[in-house]
């Protein structure tokens, strides 16, 4: 079941991923991801600060432990030196040494050893050994079986180094710290003052002295040999469960040949940890607030500058799909983003090109047709009706053939200006290149193609009203047109039809108006009304030309 479920889940996920995401959602997600990244960065920064602070604390403590350990070992050397030199103060020592009286020397050494070992207790002696001036072992004293061979010191090479010295150097103290199964401190002290008569080797346990680190620094202490053997552990050493509240500082005690033992001290960092946690929470809180503010500001700016303009453009483009694009951009905001501004300009240009005749700047056939349809729809609600005039120029083809298309185009342009001038001000749509967007409420003149024009007269249902307009139109074209240096005149044949009186169907209405227009052209009459038995004629002062005149 699980094996089938996984691919199913994957398919569902992939299907979800393949779904288109809105720009708003995408922007929101980007802002959200940026916010999460910011929060993550703040968290990581806080953690790094936390660790660096603890590491800094550890380093500082390590230095402190180092200083304390160095002081303790220096003190150990002082005590060992004093002990070694005090051997020669024993009664009969000088005579026994001069006579190499090992029995007496052994007794004196034992007295000294046990005095320090038992009563002094300041250092833990392992062995006391006495050598003559040529480093020949004369006597030794120790507790138990922890002794070393006569031919070598407690620390390897120390005796050889001491013996190899020449001149005044032989009077200097020489010591070593080494790890021979357990840590050892060995100091060789010359006896006899300026006239060296022998040497005392004091061998002590450095871990015993280093135990005082616990009291010096006031921290739980544990000492380990290099081998890992535990040498000492404070009674206050916490159990494993409490170790997270302390900072462990390890300090390696260095000997001549490397690390001799390791001292680990525990610093109670509960207070520091609490402060660091507070700092981390404060950083996260500030980061959260700042991130939310920045994310909100970014989203607001994007929404104002990009999302809303894009959404508006989308709505406008969608209106073309749903309503034919007759909605005007009357309240469109100017986008703040340059690209969006250019996109809106492009949209306006395309809109203009789609609905405007480029030659005359009148609405084209598409816009005229859409206006007719909207008026048809509006009429169903308002019952106002309208008049449709289809027009064709008379004599245009001859002018075009004779003077060329350029002259023909100029003529059409001037005709369009005059026809538009007849329309009531504000009713002519798109003459000045205005982008369409709202339904036409007044008269509309459009170039339908070639020398064909159309006029829509909303709320006009009587022939007399149409005739008044037709009269104005014919009068407007009566004056010759100035094309270059030539004057020329054209006539106008008009076919008129009423909606819904003549036809409630737009196609039929157009067909009737066209037919009436062709009747007018054939008959040479100015205007013919469709759907009427009688042909109405408008008397004009300028009859339709039959040929090119006065060129």
């Amino acid at each position: 079941m699980e094996a089938e479920g996984v691919p199913l889940l994957t398919d569902v996920s992939m299907a979800i991923l393949r779904q288109p995401v809105s720009l708003r959602a995408l922007t929101g997600m980007v802002v959200l991801v940026m916010g999460m990244l910011g929060m993550s960065l703040a968290f990581v920064t806080g953690e790094i600060y936390h660790r660096l602070t603890l590491e800094n604390q550890r380093l500082g403590l390590s230095n402190l432990v180092g200083l304390a350990a160095t002081g303790i070992l220096t003190e150990l050397q002082e005590k060992a030196r004093a002990l070694g030199l005090s051997v020669q103060t024993g009664p009969g020592f000088d005579r026994a040494l001069a006579g190499h009286d090992s029995t007496t020397l052994e007794r004196l050494l034992n007295d000294q050893f046990h005095q320090y070992f038992v009563t002094a207790g300041e250092i833990r002696l392992i062995q006391l050994r006495l050598f003559d001036a040529d480093f020949k072992l004369l006597a030794a004293a120790s507790e138990g079986a922890r002794t070393f061979p006569a031919e070598r010191a407690a620390c390897p090479g120390l005796l050889e180094r001491a013996e190899a010295r020449q001149g005044p150097e032989r009077l200097q103290l020489i010591s070593a710290l080494c790890d021979e199964t357990t840590p050892h401190y060995s100091l060789i002290v010359p006896i006899g003052g300026l006239w060296v008569r022998g040497y005392v080797e004091v061998i002590a346990d450095p871990s015993y002295s280093l135990e005082s680190l616990e009291h010096t620094l006031g921290m739980p202490l544990r000492l380990h040999a290099v081998s890992g053997t535990k040498l000492y552990q404070s009674a206050s050493w916490p159990d494993q469960n409490s170790m997270h509240r302390v900072l462990a500082v390890e300090y390696p005690v260095q000997g001549d040949s490397g690390v001799v033992l390791r001292a680990t001290l525990l610093s109670d960092v509960a207070t520091l940890q609490a402060k660091l946690d507070e700092t981390l929470y404060a950083i996260l809180l500030v980061a959260t607030v700042v991130t939310l503010l920045v994310a909100g500001a970014v989203f607001w700016v994007l929404r104002r500058t990009a999302l809303e303009p894009i959404a508006q453009l989308l709505r406008q483009l969608d209106s073309y799909r749903q309503e034919g694009g007759a909605i005007k951009l009357v309240n469109s905001k100017i986008p703040a983003v340059k690209e969006l501004h250019a996109l809106q300009d492009l949209y306006r240009t395309l809109d203009h090109l789609a609905y405007t005749d480029p030659l005359t700047l009148l609405p084209n056939r598409v816009q005229f047709r859409e206006c007719l349809e909207r008026n048809t729809v509006n009429d169903r609600r308002q019952q106002a009706g309208f008049a449709l005039l289809m027009m064709d120029l008379d004599g245009f083809k001859k002018i075009n053939d004779r003077f060329g298309h350029q002259a023909g185009d100029e003529l059409l342009h001037q005709v369009a200006r005059r026809l538009a001038g007849v329309m009531r001000h504000g009713d002519v749509i798109s003459l000045l290149g205005e982008v369409s967007g709202m339904p036409a409420q007044g008269d509309l003149v459009a170039r339908l193609g070639g020398d064909e024009f159309g006029i829509l007269l909303p709320a006009v249902t009587r022939q007399s009203d149409v005739m008044a307009v037709v009269d104005k139109l014919l009068r407007a074209l009566r004056e010759p047109f100035q094309i270059g240096e030539q004057d020329c005149s054209v006539g106008l044949s008009i076919g008129a039809a009423f909606y819904p009186t003549d036809a409630a169907d737009l196609e039929t209405l157009i067909g009737l108006a066209d037919a009436a227009m062709y009747t007018a052209k054939r008959s040479g009459l100015g205007c013919v009304f469709a759907g009427s038995a009688a042909v109405s004629v408008v008397t004009t002062a300028s009859p339709p030309p039959t040929s090119a005149q006065k060129f």
Partner: protein
């Protein structure tokens, strides 16, 4: 009125009578002392090897000596040094003898040497670095 004027004068007089701390040893320490051989710690050790009868005189005060001293040295503070005390400590006027005190800034050994020289001692040595140099170089010393 008269008593008031008298009191400060009496106080000054009494202050002048108070014993001041000894200024002995607080003299300008010379680099060398004429008629005296200067030695360092190593030269002192070599000297001891050549002259088993070498005497070592610690010219410091006894309180300073408690910090540590060179083995086999005798304590004879400069303030106690005179021909009689030297005669007690030193076997003869031509015996080799080394004087030392705390360090290069200490003048007690200088004073003691001047006195010894005046008393006719001829083989005088001055360990100018004193106990400070001895200890710093890691040579053994005894403490009281």
């Amino acid at each position: 009125m008269f008593a008031k004027r008298l009191i400060p004068g009496v106080c000054l007089y009494l202050c002048a009578l108070l014993p001041l701390p000894s200024q002995a040893g607080k003299i300008a320490v010379p680099e060398v002392i004429e008629g005296v051989t200067s030695v360092d710690a190593e030269a002192l050790i070599e000297l001891a090897q050549h002259y088993p009868e070498l005497s070592i005189v610690d010219a410091r005060q006894r309180s300073d000596r408690q910090q540590g001293y060179i083995q086999d040295s005798v304590s004879l503070p400069d303030v106690e040094t005179n021909c009689d005390s030297l005669k007690v400590q030193l076997p003869s006027a031509d015996a080799p003898v080394v004087f030392y005190c705390n360090g290069v800034k200490c003048g007690r050994s200088v004073i003691a040497l001047q006195i010894a020289k005046g008393c006719g001692y001829t083989r005088l040595y001055w360990f100018r670095g004193g106990f400070e140099e001895w200890k710093q170089k890691g040579y053994p010393f005894l403490q009281m």
